[in-house]
Amino acid sequence: MLSYVIRRVLLMIPTLFFVAFITFVLAHSAPGSPFDKNQNRPLPEATIERLNRLYGIDQPIQNQFVLYLNNLVHLDLGSSLVKDRTVADIIGSEFPVSAQLGLQALFIALAIALPLGIVSALKQNTGIDYASLLFATIGTTIPAFVIAIFAIFLFGVNLRWFPFIGWGNGCGPLPSCDLKRMAMPTVILSLGAMAFLTRITRASMLEAIRQDYVRTARSKGLREQVVIVGHVVKNAMIPVATIIGPATAGLITGSFIIEWMFNVPGLGREFVLSINRRDYPLIMGVYMLYATLIVIANLTVDIVYGWIDPRIKLGR
């Protein structure tokens, strides 16, 4: 187990190196230099030369890559080309909002998907099962931004139940937050993961219910509750746990779109804006952060998977 964990953690290094390499190559192939923004008032040659020397752009490209890696390791992500702040500073102030949005969405998704999937498997082929299957199909099929459009139109514009712009600034603990304002972005972000988790939970429960050990548990006279909770649900949760990794990745990429649509002042919105402004250092910095987060999430899930299911032989 320990050697497996160590090997997987070490395997992260080439992956992240590759991510950094691709990011670097792509950023280099982007057109223009950071210092030729204003065509009407070109900078003097000497100034450009000094700026290039200051930022190391006059160096050969392999040296630049080494410099970039060195800076990355020291968490120096450079400065935004548009805002007068460093990338690390922007991430520091805006990531908490995104993290809150994402965690709330993950929590809501789990809180609804798990019971719904379990109940619909226990009551297979009844009304509630069909309803939850319909929900799961629609939720996994229709993209979040399309659902958001319908939701804004219905609940925001027509019924005026929820405000649909912003996040309500500077709230500390949850009860002091503007919950009404947070409702739509959070719930819509959670829908995709929720539908997917419902589907997986249901399928996994149906698989577990038909296992021999469940029949054994029944035949030795255990109460139905004990059979369901202790044997079926416990085993059915194993595949579900592995989905939380991809679901987290989905929440992260989903948050760009949702934050941008609802004007939530988080890192996802900043990322979309920086793409449209071609603020490359910010794009690269946020990309590296999110790629690292997703790699770590997947790694954690793989390790937890081996830990909760002893039948899985890790690191053969």
């Binding site: 992956t15 192939s29 982007a30 996994t140 229709i142 399309v146 990429t253 071609r278 794009i283 790629a291």
Partner: protein, 322 residues
């Protein structure tokens, strides 16, 4: 005196023996039969065919030009669709006009073109690369297989939408990105992030199939590896790949819609549903229809593909789950 009778075909022999036999069906006919009986899948297929026809015959059915503003000297801006019945309805534009006066119905119809192209070209690439690499790796084993698995590990670690975002964001301004309205770059991007899934699927299939007796038999009678791969393994391994394709198509379309919606996909004024939503979203709360209609189109097409994909999966491999 013995008479020589010719061997009887199934039906006749059944008549002779006075029993009923079912008409023999191949695996594919069987799958077809199950698919046709699946109502949701058939409705989905119908919608997809309709959208396909719409895409092909767009110039003949669309009333206006998709990019030019009709009556540009005095354009009708933000006309409402006819069913709203407001005073902003203009009978010349059934589905209304957008914020600079272009006909929405026309743009919706032409958008189907981009969606269909994005659905089929990159997925064809994914299928070709994924199937050939996956099958060769699975059959050859050894270092070919090892190399493939290491590459797929790394590509798998990339979150696909994030990777496409970064490709589009950085290369969009270059000549490669501007070529063909941004479509070829998107084809390649989508293919790069998705072929590994297909390759892994086929590799797994071939790994389990190549130990089966029919492959051994083929090898015994001296079939070449190429022949075994193409004639024996391919037809047996292909069913899950077809299911995967039926899900890859809508996912490619969705990628285009998402990127265009974020303003880094197809380059305007080429209409796509994503571009239309992006164009109209700023004034969404006052004039919702230019955004609602393309959103509705995306939802319908996505659902149709899911129904068809689910139907195909049930028809081709009833044992497959989820």
């Amino acid at each position: 005196m013995a008479t020589i009778t010719r061997p009887l075909a199934g039906q006749e022999r059944a008549a002779e023996l006075n029993v009923l036999v079912r008409k023999q069906r191949s695996l594919w006919q069987d799958a077809m039969y199950r698919l046709v009986r699946n109502k949701a899948a058939m409705v989905g297929l119908g919608v997809i065919i309709l959208a396909g026809l719409m895409a092909i015959f767009a110039p003949f059915i669309a009333p206006y030009s998709p990019t030019a503003i009709p009556n540009a000297a005095n354009p009708t801006i933000n006309a409402d669709p006819f069913w709203t019945g407001t005073k902003y309805v203009d009978p010349r534009y059934l589905f209304g006009t957008d914020e600079i006066g272009r006909d929405i119905l026309t743009r919706l119809i032409y958008s189907a073109r981009v969606s269909m192209i994005i659905g089929f070209v990159p997925v064809a690439l994914i299928f070709l690369i994924g199937v050939s690499v996956g099958m060769v790796a699975g059959y050859a084993g050894g270092w070919t297989d090892q190399l493939l698995m290491r590459i797929t590990d790394v590509v798998y670690a990339f979150p696909d939408l994030l990777f496409l975002l970064i490709i589009m964001a950085t290369l969009r301004g270059t000549d490669i990105g501007k070529f063909g309205g941004g479509l070829p770059l998107m084809f390649v991007g989508i293919a790069i992030v998705n072929w590994v899934g297909m390759a892994r699927l086929l590799r797994g299939q071939v790994l389990s199939l190549k130990e089966k007796e029919f492959v051994e038999a083929a090898r015994c009678v001296g079939a070449t590896p190429i022949r075994i791969l193409v004639r024996h393994l391919f037809p047996n391994a292909i069913a899950p790949a077809i299911v995967a394709v039926s899900f890859a198509i809508p996912s490619a379309m969705l990628t285009e819609a998402t990127l265009s919606f974020l303003g880094i996909g197809v380059i305007p004024p080429t209409p796509t549903w994503g571009v239309m939503i992006n164009d109209g979203f700023v004034v969404f709360s006052t004039s919702p229809w230019p955004v609602l209609l393309p959103a509705f189109c995306i939802a319908i097409v996505m659902l149709s593909f899911t129904f068809l994909g689910d139907g195909l999966r049930d028809a081709l491999d009833p044992r497959m789950k989820i």
